[in-house]
Symmetry: C3
Subunit: 264 residues, 3 copies
């Protein structure tokens, strides 16, 4: 049997010892675990960014992968801790909306309230459940400890608030969901949303700029260097990019800013 | 038998190839080693910060873990190279104070001067002992090569200089040991030091600010967002934090700055 | 048999999910792969920097290591994808010059055009061949899938443009190849180039500064703190450094800037 993969996604950054403490706890309980970092660069306390990153990547991992995610401004309060079982694996973390988007993409089978203190570190701090609660749970689950021992099944969980796109006969407005390290503007507009626009060129309104006569490109290198382009990116969302440049800087845009496509 | 864990803690950063060179050397000598990064973001040449990070995390790792640490401004000079054996594992690095705090937390059993050139790379540079001396030593040790072959036992090692706290009947002064990526101010004041203050509210003097009527919080979310709080953090040191904010920025404080608790 | 090592070198940064997507794809196809990050901090689109980093580190890895590198401004265009087999292992990535320097250091045995779509993800995007083409190829190769199945052998590949040094009887001019995270200025001048200068002290011209009476140091700590020094670094190139300081900042220099050594 292949060793189980455990992924980690947090807003802890890579300087502090916090991520290593989680890995240490996991390896002590499950010495053969294959631990993979997804990202520790989630913006502090930004649950939506964490949810987006998680949902972009976790479906690529092998069957049975256990995904631990910690963006947890309410650690130590009454917010719950959950394990979501999906058709492909598991998600472990705070019940604050962080896990749902990615879990739904895999098909949710059940949700367990993580309550059994015997499956946590013997001293649980009020400030670091990543190390004291979620990491041990992932390691015990990786050791094939049955899900039913972790706590009772529940049905209600917190869902993150994501903006929906607005459609009129001649326009479509979404927002910037995420700006990647290249400065590419990844929107919440999907291929299926813009099918009726694809054959034509469109106007794209971004902040105070209007890009005219835009057609969907297939590659970043299709325009001249430093020219804007629109394409369906590798996660199936509409992206605005600059060939070999940084679109977020050029257009002075940030996450949450609106973007409108109009028929020419 | 479980594979041995080797941890790495350096001031090398993650852009340069230096960390990967150490991992390459380890995997060539010990192909089954499980290598875990603790942090490569130690401030350049800051031995105390390295010592603090190491001592925060290494006791969480499995029995037998080999911890390699390199913050080494004197590389290539006559400073020694050491292996410290503890009740829980091993520490390998320069003899400059970096390893002692973490090793003492585990209980020191013996100290070996790392001298045997047959257990180093065949060409040892004057500038990169992490790759040429410490990584091969960790890998050979992980292969169960006996400690006595690495060099002679010694008893004297360099100790890092840490500031002690000052206590008067009505006040207690410590300093900021570390500022984490959340901007939380982690001091050198421990729970046991403040037992006599805990029942009362205290004044906390931080730089030019005074926080009045402070009580110890249990969680970061116990105050309103953007309000300061004091709590005993996940490493048992007093922390000053801002709920969902950055205390270091708000109070313009840095590592080494003093903090005083006074009875109201 | 030891598990095979797969290394990753990209300009993706560590915040986005892109690196984790590559790891996920690899682990799904080859669950036992040992994946090691070389660097994900290559400057965006900087093929030469990627080539330099790769060539600094890959020869330290075990025999059979598969090195995947992605700095790929032309992704989705007609640029080829290649696998270079060397005397020590493999290199997989775009045919844009990124892989050649490191591969030649190991001795090139053959070059294969990566064409077999059965060894890629079932849907290949135009924007992320790291995940869709190179990662699956590395994983299948790690599973001992024969090289001949990936595509036809080729002989012509793109070579990166590196500046050569200029030598006169009394001077030697090179350029800054790379500035590491310590601010050390790593030049393209090697020990063999300066053999005729080593016995004497030299003048070193760096931007608008001239350093007089410089001799080659053996260690960074050989001068006083904050004093400049020249030494042959751990990759056998001439470096200009500041003991416990940052030479790039002090001299306001950047990659590509010229450096001249003159007899005094």
């Amino acid at each position: 049997m292949s060793p189980k993969v455990i992924t980690l996604t947090t807003d802890f950054g890579l300087v502090d010892p916090y991520v290593a403490e989680m890995k240490a706890v996991i390896l002590k309980i499950c010495p053969g675990a294959i631990i993979v970092d997804v990202s520790h660069g989630i913006q502090k306390f930004n649950i939506q960014m964490g949810a987006f990153i998680l949902s972009s990547v976790t479906h690529y991992f092998p069957f049975g992968t256990i995904n631990v995610a910690v963006v947890d401004p309410s650690v130590g309060t009454k917010r719950g801790s959950i394990i979501i079982e999906t058709e492909q694996g598991f998600f472990i973390g705070p019940d604050n909306g962080l896990l749902v988007l990615a879990a739904e993409k895999q098909g949710i089978k059940s949700i367990t309230q993580l309550e059994n203190q015997n499956l946590m570190l013997s001293h649980v701090s009020n400030t670091f459940h990543g190390r004291d609660v979620f990491a041990p749970a992932a390691a015990h689950l990786s050791n094939d400890f049955p899900l039913s021992k972790f706590g009772p099944k529940i049905t209600e969980i917190v869902r993150p608030a994501f903006t929906k796109i607005e459609i009129t006969p001649n326009s479509l407005t979404g927002e910037i969901l995420y700006i990647d390290d290249f400065g590419n503007l990844i929107t919440n507009i999907q291929m299926k949303d813009i099918t009726s626009f694809v054959d034509d060129s469109v106007e794209i309104e971004l902040g105070s700029e209007t890009l005219s006569h835009m057609k969907l490109s297939k590659t970043y290198a299709e325009t001249e260097p430093n020219r804007p382009l629109a394409l369906i990116g590798s996660h199936d969302y509409l992206e605005i990019a600059i060939n070999q440049g940084n679109a977020a800087e050029k257009f002075s845009l940030k996450t949450g800013d609106r973007i409108t496509l109009k028929r020419a």
